[in-house]
């Protein structure tokens, strides 16, 4: 398979000159001297040198090898999902929040998007011996809704759950590293006040993630808020959002993190009827692999997985308690049905419900 010249990291005008001079593929450039190249393509000598360096750099260095689908499947299975404290939601998501993918939460104000984000920011830190991922989290807050008072509530409840589940020495040791203080120290907070700051932060994140390989979750709460300020040029907004979506997907896969973002709802008129739809436009709908819609149905809160490549759309009930995002209490399971090995999900299901 020949690699074409236009895929090299060069300026467009240089590429045009190369193609016009007949150099279609990088293989053509392998045995050319700089002086000869500059004569044939009318590039300056410096530019010709850069071209040849680019060619040699890119073919000499580790060209990304292609993977078979089986290898990809194995890689995916190695990445554990982030388990929430809501077993129903985990089931609907196919095991939990998937690592290596982007997930979006949409919903009206007050329905629980930030609560779920805060819950996951704590859940990602649950040690591996309890069924968690044991990772760190980067939390980008654009609205100011990351309130320490609430984070401490959720962290305290999570630590309490896990300490009730301790069965062996390994878990006992792990509990020493899972306290409210360590949870707060493993949560990296960034406050962005407008969309330019958000874009800046995302350009600098890959570097941060390389320096902090234990990060397994990136939360952006919310993407909508800074981008719904008045934009004179909506097509510019669309282009910026597309670029942002690509950056997030690439960060998710290359750094093996789960990306979680929240979106607002907006009203749209359709044939005289108004309905609520996720904000940020149609093309943004393709940004996330999985989309969750949180909404009210009377006094109940429902979570609907309405876009997912793996699972059919499921709707589950949830509640927000003082301890965080939880299932609504189901009727008690008979003891024989409980598995012997306790996990975080089981403890959460047994918890008494609160309003």
């Amino acid at each position: 398979m020949q690699r074409s010249v236009s895929s090299l990291s060069l300026s467009p005008s240089v590429k045009v000159k190369l193609v016009n001079a007949g150099f279609q593929f990088t293989a053509d450039l392998l045995h050319v001297k700089p002086l000869q190249l500059s004569k044939e393509t009318s590039l300056s000598q410096l530019e010709a040198l850069e071209v040849l360096q680019a060619v040699r750099g890119e073919t000499g260095g580790g060209a990304s090898s292609s993977l078979t689908a089986l290898e990809l499947l194995q890689k995916e299975e190695e990445l554990r999902s982030i388990v929430t404290f809501s077993s129903q939601l985990d089931a609907a998501l196919g095991g939990g929040l998937p690592v290596g993918k982007t997930t979006e939460i949409c919903g009206a104000p007050g329905v629980g998007k930030t609560q779920l984000c805060l819950q996951l920011a704590v859940d990602v830190q649950v040690p591996q011996c309890f069924g968690g991922v044991g990772g760190q989290v980067v939390y980008i807050d654009t609205e100011g809704s990351f309130l320490l008072q609430r984070v401490v509530d959720i962290a305290t409840a999570a630590v309490q759950h896990c300490s009730l589940l301790v069965e062996d020495d390994e878990q006992q040791v792990a509990m020493a590293t899972f306290t409210v203080e360590t949870i707060l120290s493993n949560t990296f907070l960034v406050r962005c006040h407008d969309y330019v700051e958000l874009l800046a932060e995302l350009h600098l994140l890959p570097d941060f993630l390389s320096n902090h390989p234990k990060v397994r979750l990136l939360v952006i709460d919310s993407v909508a808020f800074p981008f719904r300020q008045h934009f004179d040029d909506l097509s510019q907004r669309t282009r910026l959002l597309n670029g942002l979506a690509q950056q997030l997907i690439s960060m998710a896969t290359s750094h093996k993190i789960a990306v979680l973002m929240t979106n607002q709802m907006t009203t749209r008129l359709r044939g005289g009827q108004s309905q609520q739809v996720p904000a940020l436009g149609e093309s943004w709908g393709h940004a996330a692999t999985i989309r969750l819609l949180l909404h009210w149905a009377g006094p109940q809160r429902l979570a609907n997985v309405f876009k997912s490549p793996n699972h059919m759309g499921a709707t589950v009930r949830y509640q927000i308690t003082s301890e965080g995002f939880r299932d609504v209490d189901q009727s008690e399971q008979p003891p024989s049905k409980r598995a012997r090995k306790h996990t975080v999900q089981m403890a959460a299901a047994r918890e008494p419900s609160e309003t």
Partner: protein, 334 residues
């Protein structure tokens, strides 16, 4: 642009493309940048990183560091211990808090109470500063304010009387009358930032919102209204975060149009806050006040009991407390 640490060749290409600042560079999408500057993709990467570094305010901080700061969890007391408990301390000092309710519910009463409460030192739940009160409809209730000031020692039994009498409350409440959107924008972009910069105020009250945004626009001007509302909200948020100042917006209510319009959650009354979903998305803490059917007797006077409810907030449960509007203010007698 010159301050960025970049190869001069890259900076030259950027200025040829008429991009004057790091912010402008970030606002152009990656592929557009390549096209406009003629730089290679690795150069564009370098450019973006340099621009981003200069636009970024802080590195990611561990939440533990914030938790340990002396002013973590700072709140503005409402003046009544039971209502403070409902709010887990009081008003948030960052972000917009909305207080909506029917007329006569007691919203202005609570706002006046906050204008006094902010003037106490932080150990008594205040912010040791004044308040700016933007009136958009009725004239400011100056007599009621005087009454509240006179009776402060009755309300705030937690504060030593000598401190209360030493504070010149009315001197530190700045009242602005604003009749339309243009003068509101002028007020928020000039007079209010000046007061905030000088440290004279640390509470901003807008009473009330819906009055301005509803009357000025017909249904057809919905797009213009949305734009104005977003600009207004953006200004409030910037002021709030820049000066760590609580912002209280008083809003009116509209009737529930239909039972299917429950997207914003169940409400305990048949009215919902005005200005719709667009405004609701801008609010961090939504409170509602309503009159109950119950009256409470105080001596030989009886007044209607009120209820202050949390509709949503990131750190508060959906709950409420009953309160009475007495001579000394809005409070729940234990």
């Amino acid at each position: 642009m010159d301050q960025l640490e970049l190869n001069p060749r890259i900076i030259a290409a950027v200025s040829r493309a008429h991009l004057k600042s790091a912010r402008e560079v970030l606002c152009v999408s990656g592929s557009d940048l390549q096209r406009v500057t003629g730089l290679s993709s690795s150069d564009v990467q370098q450019l973006l990183i340099a621009a981003a570094t200069s636009c970024r305010r802080h590195h990611p901080i561990a939440a533990l560091v914030l938790h340990r700061k002396f002013d973590a969890g700072l709140r503005l007391s409402v003046g009544c211990p039971v209502l403070n408990q409902l709010l887990r301390g009081g008003l948030l000092v960052g972000g917009v808090t909305e207080l909506s309710g029917e007329s006569g519910a007691g919203k202005t009463q609570l706002a006046l109470q906050l204008c006094l409460s902010v003037q106490y030192p932080t150990q008594y739940g205040g912010l040791h500063s004044g308040a700016v009160y933007i009136c958009t409809e009725d004239s400011f209730p100056i007599k009621r304010l005087q009454q509240l000031i006179t009776d402060q020692s009755l309300l705030r039994s937690d504060v030593p009387p000598s401190l209360i009498s030493s504070l010149q409350f009315s001197d530190r409440i700045y009242i602005e009358h604003v009749a339309d959107l243009d003068s509101l924008q002028v007020c928020l972009s000039r007079r209010v930032p000046l007061l905030l910069t000088r440290g004279l105020v640390r509470l901003l009250v807008v009473d009330s919102l819906a009055a301005l945004f509803r009357s000025e626009f017909q249904a057809a001007d919905w797009l213009e209204r949305s734009k104005q509302l977003l600009t207004f909200s953006s200004t409030l948020h910037h002021l709030s975060s820049r000066f760590t100042t609580p912002v209280l917006c008083i809003n009116q209510v509209t009737d529930f149009l239909s039972s299917s319009d429950d997207s914003l959650g169940p409400l305990s009354s048949s009215v919902s806050p005005a200005l719709g979903l667009l405004w609701a998305n801008q609010v961090m803490v939504r409170l509602m006040m309503r009159r109950l059917q119950v009256t409470v007797a105080q001596g030989d006077q009886s007044s209607v009991l009120r209820r202050l409810e949390v509709v949503f907030a990131p750190h508060l449960a959906r709950s409420g407390r009953d309160a009475a509007v007495e001579g000394e203010g809005v409070l729940t007698s234990v």
